[in-house]
Amino acid sequence: MRTLYQFHGGVHPPTNKTQSTRTPIAPAPLPGKLVIPFHQHVGNMARPLVKAGNRVLKGQLIGMPEDGVSSAVHASTSGTISAIGMAVVAHASGLPDLCATLIPDGQEEWVTHEGMAYRTAAGADVRLALRLAGVVGLGGAVFPSDLKLRSGKHKIKSLVLNGAECEPYITCDDMLMRERAAEIIRGAEIMRFMLDAEEVLIGIEDNKPEAIAAMQLAAAASDDKMEVIVVPTIYPSGGAKQLMRILTGIEIAAGVRSTEKGMQCFNVATALSIYRALQFGEPLLSRIVTVTGNVRNAQNFEVLIGAPVNELVALADPLPDTNLYIMGGPMMGVPLPSAQVSVVKATNCIIAASDKLFPPPPPALPCIRCTRCAEACPADLQPQELFWFAQSKNFGKAQEYSLFDCIECGACSYVCPSHIPLVQYYRFAKSEIRALEHEQAAADLARERYEFRQSRIERDKQEKAEKLAQKEMTALAARQSAATPEAAADNSAQLRIQAAVEHAREQAAAARPKNIDTLTPRQQAEIAEIEARRAKAREMAHPDAGQPKE
């Protein structure tokens, strides 16, 4: 029996999962139109390869990954590209992004594709194949998987497969594990091979007995060292760091990579798409989406990337009082700007919401310092202190109290008896701090330039004076045929100035803010999102102010 560890805190919200697990995963019918965003992953947007009017085949690459962190985008079915342009995407900011609109022809005509011999091919080639197949983390982070499959300088002991699915309402991983356990295990074998990991640990919450049984059966058939580990149901056990803590007892601090502690973590659905991509050459064209909440027939669907949300939810028969659609679960999900947006790789769940299902909270009361939030916090933070600092815009203190270690799981907001939207305060403080640091960085750069210019002007002046002096001296020497030049002293003054300038520059470099300097690509993407949200919020706050000056 394996020893399991606990993380601090956690909450037990009603799971509401059974509604959507009564029927098997159903394929969603081909929609009349697909709107496929070019930026569905963390990192740089994919570069469009098609134009309006092009006919594309199912699985055809239409968005080429850019350099650095990026991933590919494909035509989810065969048809004609009717437009390349901006459209509102599934994102809380409600901002439009570049998308390809694809009118399916109903033929489902595949591009030629074939699997690869991933066990004999070079690692770099296998990773490139995954990159070009658009495989990203399907647990919600949508981080390009190829970048996590490098066997780097750290020895990986455990490959952790995340099937915890702790967030209420969501059952897409549960159903996937029940129905396609064997393929998930194949994917896990590939990842274990690529990382050269010793073991595969598969964590599943104990409220999914069918999935556990299916995965155990499939894992037993594997030649690799695999273990399905049943973990207690507690939110957020499905957070990568929390799950790794439960399974191994090791805690990974904010800003530390799990590989440094010999672990790498993937979602179960990602394992399956890695298997499909390498075994059959199938890019990521669809995913399982739970449609639940205020609907008559909650169910999981296999949905093409780009399918409109409104057509998808119609399959589950939403009740008439539905007034909002949420992407994700009720703890961390984001409200969709409209039901017209399309399903993206990050869409694990669509919840139809109504005031009856999620009653608006009563007006927030002041914090009474009851510390229920601190007792619930899985990152061992003191949310009541962070709230105080965020509210009073005391951002320095907020950082001192580890604001950036907050994973925004919402456990604090969930338990707050004063109904304070705590996570919202932390997001606000984080984005303000990043904005300030950007401004600081810009100001530093400007000052550096100014100082450099000043020193250059000074130097020019000196050089001129020197030349003049030299001229005079040569003239003098010519006249007196003897010279006692003061150039040496002059020269040392110039050296001193140069040293001072150098010193100032070094100091400026050392003082550069840390929160925006050593960002992971994921954080950069988050910042970009937050910036977008900030812009939106500003716009909403001052609709007449026009362009904010920045």
Binding site: G249, E251, D380, S402, P417, M540
Partner: protein, 343 residues
């Protein structure tokens, strides 16, 4: 923009405060059993005063009245204060103390959630400093007074200040067991002899020790309901016990036994209901231990060496002062930054 969680635990400030009020009921019931219904009059008076003051202050501060008036926090302050002052006190004593607690100690500091000091204890401190004589006339428990007042007589005294003719206040009231012990010790009588006086029961004061047991019952309910954690009661009572134990060991003739101190005065009320006030207390587990241990020690010192009949109120206020400092120095390590990061 809805960006926070969409669901929340069905809980609220008013529900929490209500549970604390409920937890006081066993103690109040025993109070009535041993001392008669006068305490219910002061609780009612304090409650009405608290709600009226709260409403007036909210209006003055231009805050919404309804959500704050229904949060039950003013009621809790009122009940705790009423339980801390003699039940046979004149009506205006209760009113003045409660009004001061709510208006000055709570609202002038920013209202709910912002008061650095426990409002009920501020109210108590004001009364004991301003009206010391009125604060020392406690009702004798059943069967101990020379005469026993009927409820009508009690009401007449509370609101009119008149006792039935021929009865003196001293005949129906007595000093508290803690106070009596202190004054008798000054007469050089040994503890054992003093505790043999009729006002003393098995552990501490007759009657009051049973009320203390009622508070323990309520405290157990609060612990069970997870309204409070074990830290503060355990550290407070533990420190009080150990400090009293040390002095008792040194000189049992002069220092009462530790169990006496645990069940006398406001020790149990303080351990489960007063020091556990989250607003004026620390937030970290370690901080709670330090805070309550300090209060336990100070309570003993004030009781035994100080000039006031009980030490809980002043110990609470003195430790309230230290809360920001305690919190700042007891921040627990965050995820992944504990020693070694593992296990």
């Amino acid at each position: 923009m809805l960006l926070s969680t969409f669901i929340s635990k069905p809980d609220s400030v008013s529900a929490i405060m209500l549970k604390v009020l409920l937890a006081l009921l066993p103690g109040i019931a025993l109070y009535v059993w041993y001392y008669g219904p006068a305490i219910l009059v002061s609780i009612t008076l304090a409650s009405i005063t608290a709600l009226a003051t709260e409403a007036a202050m909210l209006k003055l501060r231009d805050r919404p009245v309804k959500p704050f008036l229904s949060d039950n926090s003013a009621l809790l302050t009122a009940w705790l204060l009423a339980l801390s002052i003699p039940p046979l006190a004149p009506w205006w004593l209760v009113v003045v103390g409660t009004a001061f607690a709510i208006s000055v100690a709570k609202h002038l500091y920013g209202g709910l959630g912002n008061n650095p000091f426990n409002p009920a204890m501020i109210g108590y401190a004001v009364l004991i400093i301003s009206f010391p004589s009125h604060m020392t006339h406690w009702l004798s428990p059943h069967g101990l007074g020379q005469v026993e007042l009927s409820f009508a007589d009690q009401l007449a005294y509370i609101f009119g200040g008149h006792l039935p003719s021929g009865i003196k206040l001293d005949a129906v009231t007595t000093a508290t067991p803690l106070d009596t012990l202190k004054t008798q010790l000054q007469l050089d009588r040994p503890v054992k002899e003093i505790l043999g006086m009729p006002i003393y029961g098995a552990l501490a004061g007759k009657g009051s020790e049973m009320v203390a047991l009622g508070y323990i019952l309520g405290g157990a309910y609060l612990l069970f309901k997870r309204i409070i954690t074990w830290h503060i009661p355990a550290a407070f009572l533990g420190t009080l016990l150990v400090t009293a134990g040390i002095f008792h060991l040194i000189d049992p003739g002069h220092y009462a036994a530790p169990l006496f101190h645990l069940t006398a005065g406001a020790a149990m009320l303080g351990a489960f209901f007063i020091l556990t006030d989250p607003i004026s207390g620390p937030t970290t587990p370690k901080g709670k231990l330090i805070f309550a241990a300090g209060a336990g020690f100070l309570t003993y010192v004030i009781r035994v060496f100080g000039g006031f009949p009980d030490g809980v109120a002043f110990a609470t206020l003195l430790m309230n002062i230290c809360v920001p400092l305690i919190d700042a120095y007891t921040q627990p390590p965050v995820f992944g930054k504990k020693d070694g990061g593992a296990k």
